[in-house]
Subunit: 277 residues, 2 copies
Protein backbone atom coordinates (compact mmCIF):
# COMPACT_ATOMS: atom_id res chain seq x y z
CA UNK A 1 0.00 0.00 0.00
CA UNK A 2 1.18 3.48 -0.94
CA UNK A 3 0.79 6.45 1.38
CA UNK A 4 0.52 10.04 0.27
CA UNK A 5 2.85 12.63 1.77
CA UNK A 6 -0.03 14.13 3.77
CA UNK A 7 -0.83 10.75 5.32
CA UNK A 8 2.82 10.06 6.04
CA UNK A 9 3.20 13.43 7.79
CA UNK A 10 0.25 12.70 10.10
CA UNK A 11 1.35 9.18 10.96
CA UNK A 12 5.06 10.06 11.36
CA UNK A 13 4.23 12.99 13.63
CA UNK A 14 2.16 10.69 15.82
CA UNK A 15 4.84 8.00 15.90
CA UNK A 16 7.71 10.38 16.65
CA UNK A 17 5.84 12.19 19.42
CA UNK A 18 4.68 8.92 21.03
CA UNK A 19 8.24 7.56 21.01
CA UNK A 20 10.44 10.43 22.18
CA UNK A 21 14.19 9.88 22.37
CA UNK A 22 13.89 6.68 20.41
CA UNK A 23 16.17 6.48 17.40
CA UNK A 24 14.08 5.49 14.39
CA UNK A 25 15.80 4.51 11.18
CA UNK A 26 14.69 6.01 7.90
CA UNK A 27 14.33 2.49 6.52
CA UNK A 28 11.69 1.80 9.15
CA UNK A 29 9.53 4.62 7.84
CA UNK A 30 10.41 3.86 4.21
CA UNK A 31 9.21 0.29 4.63
CA UNK A 32 5.98 1.09 6.46
CA UNK A 33 4.95 3.67 3.89
CA UNK A 34 6.43 1.92 0.89
CA UNK A 35 8.28 5.12 0.02
CA UNK A 36 11.79 6.09 -1.07
CA UNK A 37 14.17 7.17 1.68
CA UNK A 38 14.59 10.50 -0.09
CA UNK A 39 10.84 11.15 0.30
CA UNK A 40 11.04 10.25 3.99
CA UNK A 41 13.94 12.69 4.39
CA UNK A 42 11.86 15.43 2.84
CA UNK A 43 8.96 14.60 5.18
CA UNK A 44 11.29 14.84 8.16
CA UNK A 45 12.52 18.28 7.07
CA UNK A 46 8.92 19.53 7.08
CA UNK A 47 8.19 17.93 10.47
CA UNK A 48 11.35 19.31 12.05
CA UNK A 49 10.74 22.84 10.80
CA UNK A 50 7.14 22.78 12.04
CA UNK A 51 8.10 21.35 15.44
CA UNK A 52 10.67 24.09 15.94
CA UNK A 53 8.48 26.88 14.58
CA UNK A 54 5.59 25.84 16.83
CA UNK A 55 7.69 25.22 19.95
CA UNK A 56 6.92 21.51 20.08
CA UNK A 57 10.48 20.25 20.06
CA UNK A 58 13.04 19.17 17.53
CA UNK A 59 14.26 16.19 15.54
CA UNK A 60 17.82 15.02 16.03
CA UNK A 61 19.40 13.29 13.08
CA UNK A 62 22.04 10.64 13.63
CA UNK A 63 23.95 9.95 10.40
CA UNK A 64 25.32 6.63 9.21
CA UNK A 65 24.05 3.10 8.73
CA UNK A 66 22.96 2.74 12.36
CA UNK A 67 21.54 6.23 12.29
CA UNK A 68 18.09 7.67 12.12
CA UNK A 69 16.01 10.35 13.68
CA UNK A 70 14.65 10.99 17.15
CA UNK A 71 12.11 13.41 18.58
CA UNK A 72 13.05 15.52 21.57
CA UNK A 73 10.68 17.73 23.56
CA UNK A 74 12.14 21.23 23.70
CA UNK A 75 10.71 24.55 24.71
CA UNK A 76 11.04 28.10 23.56
CA UNK A 77 12.19 30.32 26.42
CA UNK A 78 9.02 32.38 26.18
CA UNK A 79 6.87 29.26 26.51
CA UNK A 80 8.89 28.01 29.50
CA UNK A 81 8.35 31.35 31.21
CA UNK A 82 4.65 31.24 30.47
CA UNK A 83 4.29 27.70 31.80
CA UNK A 84 6.15 28.49 35.02
CA UNK A 85 4.14 31.66 35.54
CA UNK A 86 0.98 29.58 35.09
CA UNK A 87 2.24 27.16 37.72
CA UNK A 88 3.09 30.02 40.12
CA UNK A 89 -0.42 31.33 39.77
CA UNK A 90 -1.92 27.91 40.39
CA UNK A 91 0.28 27.24 43.43
CA UNK A 92 -0.04 30.73 44.87
CA UNK A 93 -3.80 30.57 45.59
CA UNK A 94 -4.43 31.33 49.27
CA UNK A 95 -6.93 28.46 49.48
CA UNK A 96 -3.98 26.07 49.20
CA UNK A 97 -2.71 26.92 52.66
CA UNK A 98 -3.19 24.07 55.13
CA UNK A 99 -2.77 24.06 58.93
CA UNK A 100 0.92 23.90 59.82
CA UNK A 101 1.88 25.97 56.79
CA UNK A 102 1.63 23.06 54.38
CA UNK A 103 0.55 23.50 50.80
CA UNK A 104 -2.34 21.57 49.28
CA UNK A 105 -1.29 20.51 45.81
CA UNK A 106 -2.88 17.09 45.39
CA UNK A 107 -5.33 18.43 42.80
CA UNK A 108 -2.55 19.86 40.61
CA UNK A 109 -0.61 16.59 40.85
CA UNK A 110 -3.67 14.78 39.50
CA UNK A 111 -4.44 17.13 36.62
CA UNK A 112 -3.07 15.89 33.28
CA UNK A 113 -2.62 19.38 31.77
CA UNK A 114 -0.66 20.69 34.76
CA UNK A 115 1.40 17.52 34.89
CA UNK A 116 2.23 17.86 31.23
CA UNK A 117 3.52 21.40 31.82
CA UNK A 118 5.78 20.18 34.61
CA UNK A 119 6.90 17.22 32.54
CA UNK A 120 7.83 19.39 29.55
CA UNK A 121 9.73 21.89 31.70
CA UNK A 122 11.78 19.28 33.54
CA UNK A 123 12.38 17.29 30.35
CA UNK A 124 13.77 20.44 28.73
CA UNK A 125 16.07 20.93 31.72
CA UNK A 126 17.55 17.44 31.56
CA UNK A 127 17.27 16.36 27.93
CA UNK A 128 21.03 16.62 27.38
CA UNK A 129 21.90 14.42 30.34
CA UNK A 130 22.39 10.73 29.95
CA UNK A 131 19.44 9.35 31.94
CA UNK A 132 18.56 5.68 32.34
CA UNK A 133 15.84 5.95 34.91
CA UNK A 134 13.83 8.44 36.97
CA UNK A 135 13.59 7.93 40.72
CA UNK A 136 10.98 9.40 43.00
CA UNK A 137 9.45 8.75 46.41
CA UNK A 138 5.88 7.64 47.14
CA UNK A 139 3.25 9.01 47.00
CA UNK A 140 3.13 12.50 45.59
CA UNK A 141 6.27 12.37 43.46
CA UNK A 142 4.97 9.51 41.33
CA UNK A 143 2.73 11.48 38.99
CA UNK A 144 5.41 14.11 38.27
CA UNK A 145 8.01 11.43 37.69
CA UNK A 146 5.78 9.82 35.09
CA UNK A 147 5.04 13.18 33.49
CA UNK A 148 8.79 13.66 32.97
CA UNK A 149 9.26 10.03 31.91
CA UNK A 150 6.66 10.50 29.16
CA UNK A 151 9.00 13.03 27.54
CA UNK A 152 12.33 11.34 28.25
CA UNK A 153 11.05 7.82 27.54
CA UNK A 154 12.75 6.17 30.51
CA UNK A 155 11.31 4.01 33.30
CA UNK A 156 10.31 5.27 36.74
CA UNK A 157 11.32 3.63 40.02
CA UNK A 158 9.48 4.45 43.21
CA UNK A 159 11.12 4.57 46.62
CA UNK A 160 8.74 3.68 49.45
CA UNK A 161 8.57 4.45 53.15
CA UNK A 162 7.71 0.87 54.01
CA UNK A 163 8.65 -2.51 52.63
CA UNK A 164 5.87 -4.43 50.85
CA UNK A 165 5.79 -8.13 50.04
CA UNK A 166 5.04 -7.33 46.40
CA UNK A 167 8.38 -5.59 45.99
CA UNK A 168 10.46 -8.73 46.52
CA UNK A 169 13.77 -8.26 48.30
CA UNK A 170 14.61 -4.67 49.08
CA UNK A 171 17.43 -2.38 50.13
CA UNK A 172 16.60 0.06 52.90
CA UNK A 173 18.41 3.01 54.42
CA UNK A 174 17.80 5.37 57.30
CA UNK A 175 18.21 9.09 56.82
CA UNK A 176 17.60 12.27 58.77
CA UNK A 177 14.84 14.46 57.46
CA UNK A 178 16.32 17.91 56.98
CA UNK A 179 13.63 20.03 58.57
CA UNK A 180 12.20 17.87 61.36
CA UNK A 181 15.52 16.14 62.16
CA UNK A 182 13.69 12.84 62.55
CA UNK A 183 15.14 9.51 61.52
CA UNK A 184 13.20 8.08 58.59
CA UNK A 185 13.42 4.97 56.42
CA UNK A 186 13.45 4.54 52.66
CA UNK A 187 13.06 1.28 50.83
CA UNK A 188 13.72 0.34 47.21
CA UNK A 189 13.15 -2.98 45.52
CA UNK A 190 16.46 -4.64 44.74
CA UNK A 191 15.43 -5.44 41.19
CA UNK A 192 14.57 -1.86 40.29
CA UNK A 193 18.02 -0.41 39.62
CA UNK A 194 20.99 -1.69 37.67
CA UNK A 195 24.52 -0.93 38.77
CA UNK A 196 25.94 2.32 37.33
CA UNK A 197 22.52 3.48 36.23
CA UNK A 198 22.25 7.23 35.65
CA UNK A 199 19.34 8.43 37.71
CA UNK A 200 17.29 11.61 37.56
CA UNK A 201 15.73 12.32 40.96
CA UNK A 202 12.30 13.98 40.80
CA UNK A 203 10.14 15.09 43.71
CA UNK A 204 7.20 17.38 44.37
CA UNK A 205 8.47 19.45 47.28
CA UNK A 206 11.88 20.24 48.75
CA UNK A 207 12.41 22.03 52.01
CA UNK A 208 15.82 21.31 53.54
CA UNK A 209 16.39 18.52 51.07
CA UNK A 210 16.46 15.58 53.51
CA UNK A 211 14.35 13.34 51.30
CA UNK A 212 16.36 14.08 48.18
CA UNK A 213 19.53 13.50 50.16
CA UNK A 214 18.10 10.19 51.35
CA UNK A 215 17.52 9.18 47.73
CA UNK A 216 21.13 10.10 46.94
CA UNK A 217 22.33 7.79 49.75
CA UNK A 218 20.09 5.05 48.45
CA UNK A 219 21.65 5.45 45.00
CA UNK A 220 25.08 4.90 46.55
CA UNK A 221 23.86 1.56 47.89
CA UNK A 222 23.01 0.59 44.32
CA UNK A 223 26.27 2.04 42.93
CA UNK A 224 24.15 4.27 40.74
CA UNK A 225 24.83 7.88 39.74
CA UNK A 226 22.84 11.05 40.23
CA UNK A 227 22.28 12.51 36.75
CA UNK A 228 20.20 15.41 38.04
CA UNK A 229 17.64 16.58 40.57
CA UNK A 230 14.37 18.26 39.62
CA UNK A 231 11.74 19.48 42.05
CA UNK A 232 8.42 21.11 41.47
CA UNK A 233 8.33 23.43 44.48
CA UNK A 234 11.20 24.48 46.71
CA UNK A 235 10.68 26.26 49.98
CA UNK A 236 12.87 29.29 50.49
CA UNK A 237 12.76 29.48 54.29
CA UNK A 238 15.65 27.09 54.66
CA UNK A 239 19.11 28.08 55.80
CA UNK A 240 20.90 24.76 55.78
CA UNK A 241 19.94 23.25 52.47
CA UNK A 242 21.40 19.76 52.18
CA UNK A 243 21.24 19.77 48.38
CA UNK A 244 22.54 22.43 46.04
CA UNK A 245 22.63 21.20 42.49
CA UNK A 246 18.95 21.04 41.57
CA UNK A 247 16.38 22.60 39.26
CA UNK A 248 13.12 23.95 40.71
CA UNK A 249 10.09 25.30 38.89
CA UNK A 250 8.37 27.21 41.68
CA UNK A 251 9.68 28.77 44.88
CA UNK A 252 7.52 29.16 47.97
CA UNK A 253 8.86 32.41 49.40
CA UNK A 254 6.45 33.23 52.19
CA UNK A 255 3.84 31.45 54.25
CA UNK A 256 1.82 33.50 56.70
CA UNK A 257 -0.54 31.27 58.61
CA UNK A 258 -2.10 34.07 60.61
CA UNK A 259 -2.95 36.16 57.56
CA UNK A 260 -3.58 33.02 55.50
CA UNK A 261 -1.40 34.18 52.66
CA UNK A 262 1.31 32.51 50.62
CA UNK A 263 3.75 33.98 48.17
CA UNK A 264 5.38 32.07 45.36
CA UNK A 265 7.88 33.11 42.72
CA UNK A 266 9.80 31.52 39.87
CA UNK A 267 12.08 28.70 40.97
CA UNK A 268 15.74 28.61 39.97
CA UNK A 269 14.83 27.28 36.50
CA UNK A 270 16.12 30.23 34.52
CA UNK A 271 19.23 30.56 36.72
CA UNK A 272 20.29 27.05 35.73
CA UNK A 273 21.81 26.31 32.36
CA UNK A 274 18.99 25.75 29.93
CA UNK A 275 19.02 25.18 26.23
CA UNK A 276 15.88 26.48 24.62
CA UNK A 277 14.58 26.12 21.09
CA UNK B 1 1.84 34.22 8.98
CA UNK B 2 0.56 31.62 6.53
CA UNK B 3 1.05 27.89 7.05
CA UNK B 4 1.20 25.31 4.29
CA UNK B 5 -1.08 22.30 4.45
CA UNK B 6 1.88 20.05 5.28
CA UNK B 7 2.80 22.24 8.25
CA UNK B 8 -0.79 22.41 9.42
CA UNK B 9 -1.12 18.63 9.29
CA UNK B 10 1.96 18.16 11.50
CA UNK B 11 0.93 20.79 14.03
CA UNK B 12 -2.74 19.77 14.16
CA UNK B 13 -1.83 16.12 14.63
CA UNK B 14 0.37 17.07 17.57
CA UNK B 15 -2.26 19.33 19.10
CA UNK B 16 -5.13 16.85 18.72
CA UNK B 17 -3.14 13.94 20.13
CA UNK B 18 -1.85 16.00 23.08
CA UNK B 19 -5.39 17.15 23.91
CA UNK B 20 -7.56 14.05 23.64
CA UNK B 21 -11.30 14.37 24.27
CA UNK B 22 -11.05 18.13 24.13
CA UNK B 23 -13.48 19.75 21.74
CA UNK B 24 -11.54 22.13 19.49
CA UNK B 25 -13.43 24.54 17.29
CA UNK B 26 -12.51 24.86 13.64
CA UNK B 27 -12.17 28.62 14.17
CA UNK B 28 -9.37 27.96 16.65
CA UNK B 29 -7.33 26.18 14.02
CA UNK B 30 -8.39 28.62 11.29
CA UNK B 31 -7.12 31.54 13.35
CA UNK B 32 -3.82 29.97 14.37
CA UNK B 33 -2.95 29.00 10.81
CA UNK B 34 -4.57 32.01 9.17
CA UNK B 35 -6.49 29.63 6.91
CA UNK B 36 -10.06 29.25 5.68
CA UNK B 37 -12.33 26.93 7.65
CA UNK B 38 -12.87 24.92 4.49
CA UNK B 39 -9.11 24.21 4.31
CA UNK B 40 -9.12 23.17 7.96
CA UNK B 41 -12.02 20.81 7.25
CA UNK B 42 -10.06 19.23 4.44
CA UNK B 43 -7.04 18.84 6.74
CA UNK B 44 -9.21 17.11 9.33
CA UNK B 45 -10.53 14.66 6.74
CA UNK B 46 -6.96 13.62 5.94
CA UNK B 47 -6.03 13.34 9.63
CA UNK B 48 -9.12 11.31 10.49
CA UNK B 49 -8.62 8.87 7.64
CA UNK B 50 -4.96 8.37 8.56
CA UNK B 51 -5.73 7.91 12.26
CA UNK B 52 -8.31 5.23 11.46
CA UNK B 53 -6.22 3.53 8.80
CA UNK B 54 -3.20 3.35 11.12
CA UNK B 55 -5.14 2.32 14.24
CA UNK B 56 -4.31 5.50 16.15
CA UNK B 57 -7.84 6.56 16.94
CA UNK B 58 -10.51 8.70 15.41
CA UNK B 59 -11.79 12.26 15.21
CA UNK B 60 -15.32 12.98 16.40
CA UNK B 61 -17.02 15.92 14.77
CA UNK B 62 -19.61 17.92 16.71
CA UNK B 63 -21.66 20.08 14.32
CA UNK B 64 -23.02 23.56 14.99
CA UNK B 65 -21.75 26.87 16.27
CA UNK B 66 -20.47 25.41 19.54
CA UNK B 67 -19.11 22.41 17.70
CA UNK B 68 -15.69 21.30 16.65
CA UNK B 69 -13.55 18.22 16.58
CA UNK B 70 -12.04 15.96 19.21
CA UNK B 71 -9.45 13.20 19.11
CA UNK B 72 -10.28 9.87 20.73
CA UNK B 73 -7.83 7.02 21.23
CA UNK B 74 -9.31 3.88 19.72
CA UNK B 75 -7.86 0.51 18.90
CA UNK B 76 -8.30 -2.01 16.16
CA UNK B 77 -9.32 -5.37 17.61
CA UNK B 78 -6.19 -7.01 16.22
CA UNK B 79 -4.00 -4.42 17.95
CA UNK B 80 -5.84 -4.85 21.25
CA UNK B 81 -5.26 -8.59 21.06
CA UNK B 82 -1.60 -8.08 20.27
CA UNK B 83 -1.14 -5.64 23.17
CA UNK B 84 -2.84 -7.94 25.68
CA UNK B 85 -0.85 -10.93 24.45
CA UNK B 86 2.31 -8.86 24.92
CA UNK B 87 1.23 -8.06 28.47
CA UNK B 88 0.47 -11.74 29.19
CA UNK B 89 3.93 -12.67 28.04
CA UNK B 90 5.51 -9.97 30.21
CA UNK B 91 3.48 -10.91 33.29
CA UNK B 92 3.82 -14.65 32.81
CA UNK B 93 7.61 -14.83 33.32
CA UNK B 94 8.40 -17.29 36.12
CA UNK B 95 10.96 -14.85 37.58
CA UNK B 96 8.04 -12.68 38.66
CA UNK B 97 6.92 -15.15 41.31
CA UNK B 98 7.58 -13.87 44.83
CA UNK B 99 7.37 -15.73 48.16
CA UNK B 100 3.72 -16.08 49.22
CA UNK B 101 2.57 -16.42 45.61
CA UNK B 102 2.74 -12.68 44.94
CA UNK B 103 3.62 -11.29 41.57
CA UNK B 104 6.46 -8.81 41.04
CA UNK B 105 5.24 -6.18 38.59
CA UNK B 106 6.85 -3.00 39.84
CA UNK B 107 9.14 -2.86 36.80
CA UNK B 108 6.25 -3.06 34.34
CA UNK B 109 4.36 -0.36 36.24
CA UNK B 110 7.38 1.91 35.80
CA UNK B 111 7.95 1.30 32.11
CA UNK B 112 6.44 4.01 29.89
CA UNK B 113 5.87 1.71 26.90
CA UNK B 114 4.06 -0.93 28.93
CA UNK B 115 2.04 1.72 30.71
CA UNK B 116 1.03 3.23 27.40
CA UNK B 117 -0.27 -0.16 26.24
CA UNK B 118 -2.38 -0.50 29.39
CA UNK B 119 -3.57 3.07 29.10
CA UNK B 120 -4.68 2.64 25.48
CA UNK B 121 -6.49 -0.62 26.21
CA UNK B 122 -8.41 0.71 29.21
CA UNK B 123 -9.15 4.01 27.45
CA UNK B 124 -10.66 2.05 24.56
CA UNK B 125 -12.82 0.12 27.03
CA UNK B 126 -14.24 3.22 28.70
CA UNK B 127 -14.12 5.96 26.05
CA UNK B 128 -17.91 5.95 25.63
CA UNK B 129 -18.61 6.40 29.33
CA UNK B 130 -19.06 9.79 30.83
CA UNK B 131 -16.02 10.04 33.09
CA UNK B 132 -15.07 13.06 35.20
CA UNK B 133 -12.22 11.59 37.17
CA UNK B 134 -10.14 8.43 37.62
CA UNK B 135 -9.71 7.02 41.12
CA UNK B 136 -7.00 4.66 42.24
CA UNK B 137 -5.30 3.58 45.43
CA UNK B 138 -1.69 4.24 46.44
CA UNK B 139 0.92 3.16 45.52
CA UNK B 140 0.92 0.82 42.56
CA UNK B 141 -2.33 1.93 40.95
CA UNK B 142 -1.08 5.49 40.42
CA UNK B 143 1.00 4.95 37.32
CA UNK B 144 -1.74 2.98 35.52
CA UNK B 145 -4.35 5.56 36.47
CA UNK B 146 -2.22 8.29 34.89
CA UNK B 147 -1.60 6.16 31.81
CA UNK B 148 -5.38 5.93 31.31
CA UNK B 149 -5.86 9.60 32.21
CA UNK B 150 -3.42 10.58 29.45
CA UNK B 151 -5.86 9.16 26.92
CA UNK B 152 -9.13 10.23 28.55
CA UNK B 153 -7.85 13.67 29.59
CA UNK B 154 -9.37 13.61 33.08
CA UNK B 155 -7.75 14.13 36.49
CA UNK B 156 -6.60 11.35 38.80
CA UNK B 157 -7.41 11.16 42.52
CA UNK B 158 -5.43 8.89 44.78
CA UNK B 159 -6.89 7.09 47.78
CA UNK B 160 -4.37 6.51 50.55
CA UNK B 161 -4.02 4.03 53.37
CA UNK B 162 -3.06 6.72 55.85
CA UNK B 163 -4.03 10.34 56.34
CA UNK B 164 -1.32 12.92 55.59
CA UNK B 165 -1.21 16.53 56.72
CA UNK B 166 -0.65 17.66 53.13
CA UNK B 167 -4.04 16.29 52.08
CA UNK B 168 -6.08 18.73 54.19
CA UNK B 169 -9.30 17.40 55.68
CA UNK B 170 -10.13 13.87 54.61
CA UNK B 171 -12.93 11.32 54.56
CA UNK B 172 -11.99 7.86 55.72
CA UNK B 173 -13.76 4.51 55.68
CA UNK B 174 -13.03 1.05 57.00
CA UNK B 175 -13.50 -1.95 54.78
CA UNK B 176 -12.83 -5.66 54.85
CA UNK B 177 -10.17 -6.89 52.50
CA UNK B 178 -11.72 -9.68 50.46
CA UNK B 179 -8.96 -12.25 50.64
CA UNK B 180 -7.37 -11.76 54.07
CA UNK B 181 -10.63 -10.70 55.78
CA UNK B 182 -8.77 -7.98 57.65
CA UNK B 183 -10.21 -4.59 58.47
CA UNK B 184 -8.41 -1.87 56.55
CA UNK B 185 -8.69 1.88 56.21
CA UNK B 186 -8.93 4.13 53.15
CA UNK B 187 -8.59 7.86 53.14
CA UNK B 188 -9.41 10.45 50.51
CA UNK B 189 -8.87 14.19 50.62
CA UNK B 190 -12.23 15.96 50.93
CA UNK B 191 -11.34 18.40 48.18
CA UNK B 192 -10.58 15.75 45.61
CA UNK B 193 -14.08 14.78 44.50
CA UNK B 194 -17.13 16.81 43.59
CA UNK B 195 -20.62 15.55 44.35
CA UNK B 196 -22.15 13.43 41.57
CA UNK B 197 -18.79 13.00 39.87
CA UNK B 198 -18.60 10.02 37.51
CA UNK B 199 -15.61 8.00 38.55
CA UNK B 200 -13.61 5.34 36.75
CA UNK B 201 -11.89 3.06 39.28
CA UNK B 202 -8.49 1.75 38.14
CA UNK B 203 -6.21 -0.63 40.01
CA UNK B 204 -3.27 -2.88 39.31
CA UNK B 205 -4.42 -6.14 40.88
CA UNK B 206 -7.74 -7.59 41.94
CA UNK B 207 -8.13 -10.76 43.93
CA UNK B 208 -11.46 -10.94 45.79
CA UNK B 209 -12.11 -7.29 45.04
CA UNK B 210 -12.03 -5.95 48.60
CA UNK B 211 -10.00 -2.89 47.69
CA UNK B 212 -12.17 -2.03 44.71
CA UNK B 213 -15.24 -2.55 46.89
CA UNK B 214 -13.71 -0.21 49.47
CA UNK B 215 -13.29 2.46 46.79
CA UNK B 216 -16.94 1.99 45.85
CA UNK B 217 -17.97 2.60 49.48
CA UNK B 218 -15.76 5.65 49.58
CA UNK B 219 -17.51 6.98 46.46
CA UNK B 220 -20.85 6.65 48.26
CA UNK B 221 -19.52 8.91 51.01
CA UNK B 222 -18.82 11.51 48.33
CA UNK B 223 -22.18 10.89 46.59
CA UNK B 224 -20.20 10.06 43.48
CA UNK B 225 -20.99 7.41 40.87
CA UNK B 226 -19.01 4.43 39.62
CA UNK B 227 -18.64 4.88 35.86
CA UNK B 228 -16.54 1.75 35.44
CA UNK B 229 -13.87 -0.49 36.94
CA UNK B 230 -10.68 -1.42 35.13
CA UNK B 231 -7.94 -3.65 36.49
CA UNK B 232 -4.68 -4.73 35.02
CA UNK B 233 -4.46 -8.22 36.50
CA UNK B 234 -7.23 -10.26 38.06
CA UNK B 235 -6.57 -13.42 40.00
CA UNK B 236 -8.76 -16.34 39.06
CA UNK B 237 -8.46 -18.33 42.24
CA UNK B 238 -11.31 -16.50 43.87
CA UNK B 239 -14.72 -17.97 44.52
CA UNK B 240 -16.47 -15.10 46.27
CA UNK B 241 -15.66 -12.14 44.09
CA UNK B 242 -17.09 -8.99 45.64
CA UNK B 243 -17.12 -7.11 42.32
CA UNK B 244 -18.57 -8.31 39.04
CA UNK B 245 -18.82 -5.49 36.57
CA UNK B 246 -15.20 -4.86 35.67
CA UNK B 247 -12.76 -5.05 32.77
CA UNK B 248 -9.44 -6.88 33.19
CA UNK B 249 -6.53 -7.12 30.80
CA UNK B 250 -4.70 -10.14 32.19
CA UNK B 251 -5.87 -13.09 34.28
CA UNK B 252 -3.57 -14.92 36.67
CA UNK B 253 -4.86 -18.45 36.37
CA UNK B 254 -2.34 -20.52 38.28
CA UNK B 255 0.40 -19.94 40.81
CA UNK B 256 2.51 -22.89 41.83
CA UNK B 257 5.01 -21.87 44.46
CA UNK B 258 6.63 -25.27 44.72
CA UNK B 259 7.29 -25.57 41.01
CA UNK B 260 7.84 -21.83 40.73
CA UNK B 261 5.50 -21.46 37.82
CA UNK B 262 2.72 -19.05 37.02
CA UNK B 263 0.14 -19.15 34.28
CA UNK B 264 -1.58 -16.13 32.86
CA UNK B 265 -4.23 -15.78 30.17
CA UNK B 266 -6.28 -13.03 28.57
CA UNK B 267 -8.46 -11.13 31.04
CA UNK B 268 -12.17 -10.62 30.39
CA UNK B 269 -11.41 -7.72 27.98
CA UNK B 270 -12.84 -9.35 24.87
CA UNK B 271 -15.82 -10.76 26.78
CA UNK B 272 -16.90 -7.24 27.71
CA UNK B 273 -18.60 -4.97 25.22
CA UNK B 274 -15.88 -3.22 23.25
CA UNK B 275 -16.09 -0.92 20.31
CA UNK B 276 -13.05 -1.20 18.11
CA UNK B 277 -11.95 0.86 15.16
Amino acid sequence: MKFKRSERLVDMTYYLVKNPFQLISLSYFAEIYNAAKSSISEDLVIIKATFEERGIGTLQTVPGAAGGVRFITRLQESEARELIEDLCEQFGAATRLLPGGYLYMTDLLGDPKTLNKMGKLLANAFHQKDIDVIMTVATKGISIAHAVANHLNVPVVVVRRDSKVTEGSTVSINYVSGSSKRIQTMVLSKRSLKENANVLIVDDFMKAGGTVNGMKSLLEEFSANVAGIGVLVESEETKDRLVDDYVSLVKLTEVNEREKTIKVSLGNYFETKQEFL
